[in-house]
Amino acid sequence: MHIRKILRHETILAVLTVIVLIVLSFQSDRFFTVDNLLNQGRLMTEVGLIAIMMTFVIATGGIDLSVGSIVGLTAILMGVFWKNLGMPLPAAMILAIISGTLAGFGNGVIITRFSVPPLIATLATLALYRGIAEGISQARSVRGYPDWFYVLGQGEFAGVPTQLWILLVVAVVSALVLGVTRIGRTVYAIGFNEVAARFSGLPVDRTKLAIYTASGFAAALAGVIFVSRVSTTRSDMGTGLELDAITAVVLGGTSIYGGRGTIAGTFIALVLIQGLKNGLSWPALREKEPSC
């Protein structure tokens, strides 16, 4: 029992992450600076938000491939609401997030009502939502947002990037929900054996609907943060983000068949991936430095 606890996937992954971070910090003395680590946290937020909700989705044995498209759709809708329809920006942000959440709700309805496998359903909405985004935007970009809006994606709060706070709050709340509440146990039960869960009287459809809606919400929030970080809106934003998120979730120890997985695992995997992404691009820069 004791040994098993030590050999848990998350523990091994955490040790691996620490080793990787130490090795990378030897590659460049600029890697382990507060500035760089916080900046990596900033870059990790969008995929992080999505991956945390994706953990719930995959833990139920489902998958959500449409998140990248929801990011693009939310971004475009916010730009269009604000620029073309002349709404105040806060209203446009809220309305865009609502739309993204509805897009996730739509996934949930298709999956639970019509019993379409999540892979097929969200593959279809991946194309649908991206198509809508491109149709609305006509391949034009929206930019020139007011300065206060950039606080969300480029600013800091108490020395830490604003969006990192959001990610941390979402991560802690989700970890609690998945770890210690009845909702969390329902999620695992569905993933472990959906039929058994249903016959045990668990609200299977309601839970799944809520999870896909939450996934849409996370993608929408990530979309707004993305727009704020890169200060522009385009319909192809977030392309391929779903794969980054799924990679983090699966690397974090969530079974792709459902039934097991933790937020902590996903979070550690996110850190590991971001560390590798950033750290591996350093030696190349260092190589060009003079040897003296």
């Binding site: 460049s28 600029r30 600076t33 500035d35 760089n36 900046n39 900033r42 870059l43 970009s141 930019r143 020139g144 950039y150 480029q154 993305f226 970080r229 890169v230 200060s231 522009t232 385009r234 192809d236 934003m237 950033n278 691009s281 350093w282 190349a284 820069l285 060009k288 430095e289 003079p290």
Partner: protein, 369 residues
């Protein structure tokens, strides 16, 4: 009924279009004031304009020190930006005090470009060279670089002036106009008649070039005859068809076709080749060398006007060095750029690369983009 109405409207607009085209004073240029250069190539008087670029915050003294520089073009993996990177690397090797790495998005994508720049800011580079995918969207991250004390210089595609220190401008509108018209008059003579294939009348760059060309032609080659300007929307097939229509419409009167886009020029050359009129109808225009090589080698096209991207990168590296050293300061009117000599400062905070580059049979094979 519906169909008839549409047909009527269409034919009416067509008729209006034809009527419009027959007012031959219409060149397709815009209405902005023009500033044609002197016919003999004397450099234009530089109108003094106060420096409108940005300033890095608390930049360390980098005079003479080796600089770590990152070059972030619009995208990597295409010939054009490989050429600018080569120019930057050449300049760095020549100076010996600059370590340059080129890193850019694999697609011309502003989000990826911003993320890259963001990462390089924390990696502690001394200088950033960039070609912006979006002049407005890139500004905040460049301002962040300036705030971190990094020297920021743009080339090829500008950003908002206060988000960088200097921008190396590859060509001015009146410079391109002069080069195109001068080359055209060399080939078709002072009294030759020519037509233009452009993208659309409202495309800003093309409209500006055409307006400057019209002004320069009036001033320096007044006997040349401007037949018509046609739109071809940067579409390959439409460009070819429009050039063909011009050849058929004007017959032997047409001595030259000018292509205003990198699509229209090769398409016009193709139309002339297929009509068997190489040598009797000249094609001059803006285009990239690779697209024009077959026509230049077949002697169907003698001059292709553009700038030299290797020189552009080379100049950008020297401007960055001078900025870091403090030898190029706000208010200066010129900057020393290695083998290119003195480059002049224009528009407040831009450095002009110089006269456009003319690709011809003798040099076109040295370029690959």
């Amino acid at each position: 009924m519906h169909k008839i109405m549409i047909t009527t409207v269409l034919s009416m607009s067509l008729a209006a279009g034809v009527a419009h085209a027959q007012q031959s004073s219409w060149t397709g240029g815009d209405d902005l004031p023009t500033n044609p250069l002197a016919c003999d190539g004397t450099p234009a008087e530089v109108a003094a304009m106060p420096y409108d670029g940005g300033t890095p915050t608390d930049a360390p003294d980098r005079m003479g020190k080796t600089l770590t520089v990152v070059d972030i073009p619009k995208l990597v993996g295409i010939g054009y930006f490989s050429a600018t990177s080569k120019g930057i690397a050449d300049a760095a090797a020549e100076m010996g005090t600059m370590d340059v790495k080129t890193d850019g998005p694999t697609r011309a994508n502003i989000d990826d470009q911003i993320t890259l720049i963001d990462n390089y800011i924390t990696s502690g580079v001394d200088g950033i060279l960039y070609a912006a995918n979006d002049p407005v969207a890139i500004a905040p991250v460049l301002k962040k670089a300036l705030a971190a004390g990094i020297n920021v210089v743009g080339y090829d595609a500008n950003s908002e002036p206060d988000s960088r220190q200097w921008f190396v401008n590859q060509a001015q509108f009146n410079g391109i106009a002069k080069s195109v018209i001068d080359n055209l008059s060399d080939e078709i003579g002072e009294d030759g008649a020519f037509a233009i294939v452009t993208s659309t009348f409202t495309t800003p760059n093309q409209a500006r070039w055409i307006a400057e060309m019209a002004a320069y032609q009036q001033k320096c080659h007044p006997d040349m005859e401007w037949l018509e300007t046609v739109e071809a929307q940067e579409d390959n097939i439409l460009s070819f068809n429009q050039a063909n229509t011009l050849i058929n419409k004007y017959g032997p009167d047409l001595k030259g076709i000018v292509g205003m886009t990198s699509v229209a020029t090769p398409a016009a050359a193709d139309a002339v080749t297929q009509a068997g009129l190489c040598g009797s109808v000249a094609v001059v225009g803006l285009a990239t060398p690779n697209a024009m090589k077959p026509y230049v080698e077949a002697d169907c096209v003698k001059s292709v006007v553009l700038w030299n991207p290797v020189d552009l990168g080379y100049a950008a590296a020297y401007v960055l060095r001078a900025t870091a050293d403090g030898t190029l300061k706000p208010g200066d009117t010129s900057v020393e750029a290695g083998k290119l000599g003195e480059l002049s400062v224009i528009n407040g905070s831009e450095v002009l690369l110089g006269a456009p580059f003319v690709y011809n049979k003798s040099n076109i094979n040295n370029f690959d983009f």
